[in-house]
Symmetry: C2
Subunit: 430 residues, 2 copies
Amino acid sequence: MVERRKPIWVKDAIEKVMEWKRLGSIEWVSINECDNRFLGEPLISDHDVPHFDRSPYDGFAIRSEDTLHATSENPVCFEVIDEIGAGQVSPLKVGPFQAIRIMTGAALPQGADSVIMLELVRENLKDNKKTIMIKRKVKTGENVSCKGEDVKKGDHLIQKGSIITPGVKALLATFGYSRVPVIKKPVIGVIATGSELLNVDEPLEHGKIRNSNGYMIESQIIRAGAEVKKYENRADEIESLYTAIETALSECDFIITTGGVSVGDYDYLPEIYKRLGANILFNKIAMRPGSVTTVANIGDKLLFGLSGNPSACYVGFELYVRPIIRYWLHSDTPYLTKAKATLQTDFPKPNPFNRFVRSQIKFVNDRLIVDPVGLDKSNVVSSIAWANCLMVLPGGTRGYKAGDLVDVLLFEDQTGSDEPWTEARKSSKL
Amino acid sequence: MVERRKPIWVKDAIEKVMEWKRLGSIEWVSINECDNRFLGEPLISDHDVPHFDRSPYDGFAIRSEDTLHATSENPVCFEVIDEIGAGQVSPLKVGPFQAIRIMTGAALPQGADSVIMLELVRENLKDNKKTIMIKRKVKTGENVSCKGEDVKKGDHLIQKGSIITPGVKALLATFGYSRVPVIKKPVIGVIATGSELLNVDEPLEHGKIRNSNGYMIESQIIRAGAEVKKYENRADEIESLYTAIETALSECDFIITTGGVSVGDYDYLPEIYKRLGANILFNKIAMRPGSVTTVANIGDKLLFGLSGNPSACYVGFELYVRPIIRYWLHSDTPYLTKAKATLQTDFPKPNPFNRFVRSQIKFVNDRLIVDPVGLDKSNVVSSIAWANCLMVLPGGTRGYKAGDLVDVLLFEDQTGSDEPWTEARKSSKL
């Protein structure tokens, strides 16, 4: 007798998974190793930037009040008493009608309150004494980058759980983080199952295919920000699969299996969950592809049983595993970035269930447009390679037409969403 | 006397740089190491996918013609002669009114042309003989994933120079690439210059700042897909700087320096270019920030002299260095992804020159909206950390208003553009 499984909504499935979310702890890494890691502490400035008034140009530091009556007709003469490059500090104080030659980035010397650009003065050298003539009024603070104008001490600059981009790294360097607090990556074990699986370096055989899900999932794990622990592919053989999962449970924070979760005679995952004493959160979801996606927990560890079909496996990862990883990394937007896009071609198939179609978005001017790519079947692999998003067509809807506005979930955008895509449940069936 | 430099257009600057573009060569890496690398060969399928007709469901493989007269009233009986799991191949041929139990993913046995799902048959066991009753007509090819339906042998699947995403990796695994041809990364030397620079682990001093440009650029290099070769910061001291650049020239494909390219008394890069016999492509661009960006070549090696100001440095990298890296990686879209977005707030400053404003785009429904972030000054670092795009305001325009449509260049989007942003040159001044 075929087991009849009760499907649940996508929203409920995500919620059940997220009940087991956990926050990762902090580790410190060299600033040279922090790219694309997730910040383990908020970045709060411990000093003003700049931390001294400085000159943004090459010129002369002066007292603005001395230029009050300077005009083309009545230029005012200043004595040049020193010269400072960036990084140098003058021991002298600028007095009345005195100037100090200053380079871009150098600290404004004492006494001065403004800088006149090099191009605007005439320099003279007489009797080894350097002077400049100024022909216009200079305002107080003119050409000065003021202490704290970029960042003020105590500013909350970057929040914990942010991804470290080149710009964030520049700030980390500015604030002296030679070592950077980042969230320790969760370790995700990957076990591909199926007696049909060949290793990537094996020649094809009739009835067998090369394992692509394992590599794909590992790559999705890396993109989500976690660490992969790779296990050997397993044939549909209950004892060796059980042992592999037991080992992975002791070595990983989460485990992903691909294949073996359906109701076929060689689908051993349900039996293994039972033996392990795992609690099944769900084993059927009202979605296509990926309806057989199963998630179970043992203690605080989640076992993600993804479909053996590549497209279904891919979608299952992005909807259910990715948010668990991103939450662990302290992201407050752990779900795929959501947007809307205009469909470019008809999609006539009706959608009895929520359908997640591998698609490609493009920017046309300020608009997002979307097109399905490849064949919309759960066992297809090519469509995944061409897609950069999922187009979501809610269950209970008929076909869609070119020009319709549809929901899209973006794979590569790092912004994320604070809420997952969730169905309206109006007319869809479970 | 201050040197008067002749600025050139952004478009011309990019063209002059791209005259020196070079294509990288191929290296082979393990499939486990290929994430985010650029594919060194087009991926052309060497076999159909699937490479055999297979069952997408659990069910029974039969000859459809035998169901021609099957109805609820007159169910047809089939003898079950074998059972095959995924990866197994039956030695038997399905004859008239025979069926073979078949699991998801298994090859369709000889003789059969269709599969009926498990849920639709009634199984019987009598005298150790298994039979099934079928109550409906099954069409030829029903529930069969046909050989080649996903990919046909000889299909051009992924072009050379594509970035390896999880989906591309799945295809690579499918086609047996245990080792993957990727483009060897160009090696980019980074030398931050300036006597005001402290190392990241040094305490602040009056008049000095920590080197942030070096770390930022390294991170931009990694994001663009190249390899960093890090050199020590250099004070504004001509001999040591000259030696550092000479060393870097012998060890790197391209060199980036930050700082020292302006016309100040301690800006030694122009003198060093002269000593090295470098050919200066340009040393002033009609843009803000980054007008001092200088590029020179020695033989086929480019020396990128970026500004010492963080925002100017960042923008200079993305506009001029990134396309050289992406072209090297065989991308046919080496420039930043271009789009348009609706400005959310007034930007009243007039734009005598092309202005590249650090900004943040967001998706609102199917529209891109953009907001400038932080202070729009070339020496500011915080705005870079908050930005995910550049808003481009062409020179010769007055201020912009909320609701205006503006050009944006996206930092994190990997799609890229086949053409750079280029100015219209109508009313902008050089």
